[in-house]
């Protein structure tokens, strides 16, 4: 179902005329703005080909972009794995039958979701170089600070995904498991959690987009990632604008691929689980303060979307 049908009826001949005129108008405005930007940049000498070429030639890739990208991807990849481990652990703990365990994991999860990642990163950076200098080489403390900060924040978000995933399953799943004689723990282990994990896969992939984007925060604490390297590139060849634009495009390409993967998974997996595979809003995580009821409303809304899709 496309959204436009909710607000708009199928256009008649008059509406179609208006739409055509608006289409032409928008096209003209877009072209006008692009030309204006191009001319403004050209007037500043920013459009000269050698500046752009220096940002994408072999030298730029081999000495700046690829090393930077390697560090970015490396930190992000490690953070992805460790935050999934962290998230699964605390997610299960939040479902534990013992109240004190649930309570401890709730405090930990809510704390790391409420604190800005950058604050966490800056603190860990100092902490590592001050107290763990015999374990971690102080030159690498920014790198580890990025990984650990991303792990703590995104792990907390994933823990919430696990819990929300289990809660979003229809009550019938649990009831059926209990009816065939499983205990609540067994029902969680064999029926609910496996379905919840499948259901949360798409959200997990879009969480990777957040991890990749947040790894650029490492720039602020001096971690040499893609942004830092492209800044070096720009400083070296006097093409800071071109270098940063190239870095932004690299981020856009990688993240768009991840978003598409998430959407594909969401379509493929919806038949494999009774949970909701819908990706919320890709790229932004639900954050602190939402309670069970809140998730219930959200799930209800998503269930309605799904129903409409099936129609």
């Amino acid at each position: 179902m496309s959204t436009q049908y909710v607000l708009f009826d199928a256009p008649g001949p008059r509406s179609r005329r208006i739409i055509t005129i608006l289409n032409i108008l928008v096209a003209l405005i877009v072209i006008g703005v692009l030309v204006w930007v191009y001319q403004a940049l050209a007037a500043q000498g920013q459009m000269s080909p050698h500046l752009w070429w220096n940002a994408i030639n072999t030298n730029a890739w081999v000495n700046y972009l690829l090393p930077g990208l390697t560090f970015t991807l490396q930190a992000a990849a490690i953070a992805v794995v460790s935050s999934v481990v962290f998230g699964l652990f605390f997610g299960f703990l939040r479902l534990a039958p013992v109240r004190i365990l649930r309570w401890i994991s709730m405090v930990i999860v809510e704390f790391f979701r409420a604190v800005p990642v950058l604050v966490l990163m800056v603190f860990l950076h100092f902490f590592f170089s001050q107290y763990l200098s015999n374990v971690i080489d102080p030159r690498n403390s920014a790198y580890y600070a990025v990984i650990v900060a991303l792990t703590l924040y995104n792990g907390a978000v994933i823990a919430e995904l696990v819990r929300a995933g289990v809660r979003s399953l229809p009550a019938g799943q649990r009831e059926a498991a209990l009816a065939v004689g499983m205990t609540t723990t067994k029902s969680l282990r064999y029926v609910e959690v496996p379905q919840a994990l499948v259901a949360m896969l798409p959200s997990l992939v879009s969480q990777f987009v957040i991890i990749l984007k947040d790894s650029a925060l490492g720039y602020i604490i001096g971690f040499s990632e893609l942004l830092r390297y492209s800044r070096h590139l720009g400083a070296g060849y006097g093409n800071i604008m071109q270098a940063l634009v190239v870095a932004a495009i690299i981020f856009i390409i990688i993240n768009s691929l991840l978003v598409q993967l998430a959407q594909m998974l969401s379509r493929r997996l919806s038949s494999r689980t009774s949970g909701v595979t819908e990706v919320g809003i890709p790229g932004i995580a639900p954050i602190a303060g939402d309670t069970v009821e809140d998730e219930a409303t959200e799930t209800r809304a998503q269930a309605i979307i799904q129903q409409d899709k099936r129609k």
Binding site: V6, L22, L120, D294
Partner: protein, 224 residues
């Protein structure tokens, strides 16, 4: 305890958080306005408008906020020499606000669109069948329900925005995370206490917004 009082006396912690709140306030207004426009474009039946808005949303959403802020500083100010304000600090504050607004607008747009998505098709059909025209149907039937459905994602975006104001540190705006950095540099022995002060400060800002979102979304939930 004395150490903590010393920190509050010695460093502008309150001013730091105030800067974060100011950044959040202005960026939220701009980002939400831009988000509404983007959402309207996105759901309009005019193909080019919806394509344009979709392209903007997908481009901006995939760029890290840090890259946007650094671009604002190094390209807008450094390279193109565009000064929005003669005062150095205010100029950078404005740059950070613009970057934050641009970055969060797509998220607000998607939040609003997901709100519209929660309205079942039958509501629009019923509105049309009792003779309501486009504007009447939108004003009386669709938009009230859509806004209620959008409260949770809008609240979540707002919380993300508040936390992301710390990235203004990349534009050397003096805010809480930057002050934390200075404090730790000069008082490394109080590191953990300093971190906890800043972390609890953010929790105290963020958690009420979360609770308010939950309360509103429950209170205004559309029963279907």
């Amino acid at each position: 305890m004395e150490d903590i009082l010393f920190l509050f006396e010695q460093y502008p912690i309150w001013e730091g958080f105030w800067a974060n709140l100011k950044l959040a306030f202005f960026s939220a207004i701009f980002a939400f306005t831009l988000g509404v426009i983007l959402a309207l474009f996105r759901i309009s039946p005019v193909r080019s408008m919806s394509w344009l808005s979709g392209a903007f949303i997908n481009l901006v959403r995939n760029i890290p906020l840090t890259v946007l802020v650094v671009m604002g500083v190094l390209i807008f100010w450094g390279q193109l020499q565009i000064n929005m304000h003669p005062d150095f600090d205010t100029n950078f504050f404005m740059l950070a606000t613009i970057a934050l607004s641009i970055y969060h607008a797509p998220f607000f747009a998607e939040a609003i669109r997901s709100g519209v998505n929660t309205v079942p098709l039958g509501q629009a059909e019923a509105a049309r069948s009792i003779g309501l025209g486009f504007f009447a149907a939108a004003r009386l039937i669709i938009i009230p329900q859509a806004l209620r459905g959008a409260i949770t994602p809008i609240g979540n975006t707002l919380i993300a925005l508040i936390k992301n104001t710390t990235v203004a540190a990349a534009a050397s705006v003096m805010e809480a995370s930057g002050i934390m950095r200075t404090m730790i540099e000069f008082n490394p022995n109080l590191m953990v206490a300093i971190f906890l002060i800043i972390a609890i400060g953010f929790s105290l800002i963020v958690i009420p917004v979360g609770l308010l979102t939950t309360w509103l979304s429950e209170r205004l939930a559309v029963t279907r």
